[in-house]
């Protein structure tokens, strides 16, 4: 059954992406977007696995769904509001209790701008 999925998937994925599997360069780009500093061997391994998975899940493209609305959520809920009341919240000490670094009741983080900026 799995092989059948994969076979269908490869064809469909090929059509959708103009042919070929996901490249190692694309995988390296995804790692950057995902903020994951992966090692070279991790990238090699993931490139093969992601290619298999994407080929298999591309099977969703077989379904004729031109006029089918998308579902993002199982419940028909929109804009659930609560009363705008002041309630107790975490104290600064509680909020900072798990911080890797804190200073003067603030989260201490590495620089976010380049030195020149």
């Amino acid at each position: 059954m799995l092989n059948e999925h994969a076979a269908h998937g490869s064809a469909a994925a090929g059509q959708a992406r103009g042919g070929g599997a996901i490249t190692r360069d694309e995988v390296a780009h995804l790692a950057r977007l995902s903020r994951l500093a992966l090692r070279e061997d991790e990238l090699d391994h993931l490139a093969t696995q992601l290619d298999d998975i994407i080929s298999a899940v591309a099977r969703v493209q077989e379904v004729a769904a031109e006029d089918i609305p998308p579902t993002s959520h199982a419940l028909p809920l929109t804009n659930v509001f609560r009363a705008d009341e002041v309630r107790p919240s975490l104290t600064p000490d509680q909020a900072l209790s798990g911080a890797p670094a804190a200073d003067e009741q603030r989260f201490k983080v590495p620089r976010i701008l380049d030195e020149e900026a």
Partner: protein
Amino acid sequence: MSADIIKKSAAELAGLISSGEASAVEVTQAHLDRIAAVEDSVKAFTHVDPETALAQARTVDERRAAGEALGPLAGVPIAHKDVFTTIDMPTTASSKILEGWRPPYDATVTRRLREAGLVILGKTNMDEFAMGSSTENSAFGPTHNPWDLNKIPGGSSGGSSAAVAAYEAPLATGTDTGGSIRQPAAVTGLVGMKPTYGGSSRYGLIAFASSLDTPGPLARTVLDAALLHEAFSGHDPMDSTSIDQPVPPVVEAARRAEVGGLRVGVVKEFGGEGYQPGVLARFHEAVEVLESLGAKVVEVSCPHFTYALPAYYLIAPSECSSNLARFDGMRYGLRVGDDETRSAEEVMALTRAEGFGPEVKRRIMLGTYALSSGYYDAYYGKAQQVRTLIARDFDAAFEQVDVLISPTTPTTAFAIGERADDPMAMYLADLCTIPSNLAGNAAISVPCGLADEDSLPVGLQIMAPVLADDRVYRVGAAVERALQDRWGGPLLAKAPEL
């Protein structure tokens, strides 16, 4: 006494405690002793806290002695999945990125367990961030199936299933995003329930895929699962997707346990090639049992269910890639490489590479891919349309029948290591459970015997419409009673001694 206590159901223990035949402290101590005896081989827990547990039990005994009216499960011990925040115990989601983290607040489910007087023994192991079907993806090592220590206990709630199957606790919490309660229950011979989405609160549940994540109970009997379901479910203003309606009458339904005249649909698409013969044999027996109890069984086609697995493995990773962005090494958890020269972005990337395991990385990357411009319409967009079609299949099926049934999993428990580096093979474990996550409806797994090939447990899945949770308990309890009559007792009595 201790050996007797641990084999009792939660309902029986609650009866002993409320009648004064046993104290909550005695019951808790018996389970702590069991944990001490078998935990080295089962490894169900990431954290056990005997002192806090005994203190909770003592409080229950004192309140009872003072004449307070307590809930129906007061004093009964429970194993709590390590994905729910607990103010007095570490909460890790079995990830290195959260190792040792102490949350500053309790999840709503945790708070309700405490209010019900349940005694939290500790936190249970799981696949990291609930991503997996075997509990092998835990950063703290795998959990072992009490039926065969070389097999997986299912996942992601595999620590919970192993703890209850090994009599370390009579009850456990789980969460089900694609089958993470039902599949572990099936492969360890337990009852596991995924409530209707929104029926149980996600507040304080570490998010994996927010449109799918659903807390639910694991137990050794259908009634116990219903009692726990009732104890922690219901509307929560802290969760905007929580349903503002009463909890369906699940306990009453579990006690009613009859199916005369009920219309039962066998899902045509779930069975045949790829399914273990022993699983199908037990499933067909369960169908006969339902017929003998007076149910009208018919075959029902749900043509889009075969697309549920690929749709899920686009939707869940997409939501995960967004949800797990919060683990950035800035406000809590691990931080790696902060040497005063690296930028925040570099530190984030180093922290996440070090803190996340391989499956979590795979899913974050897959989700990032599916959501990227150029691929969004072909992948995430298509998967969302499939989700609509699956919900429509359910709607059409529930016009013909009251419940749908299928095997819970295509196979029994597989060997630890067997699928560890083959993600697609691992994902197939969720083949039959995923549709109910995508559509949000209620679904339960109840034990239906042992497969002939390997003498390992098989689960029967029963699915009902949204908010008809009571219906799956009613059918599950009827099947449980009929099968236990055949077996001469609970299925777990056939498990080898640990």
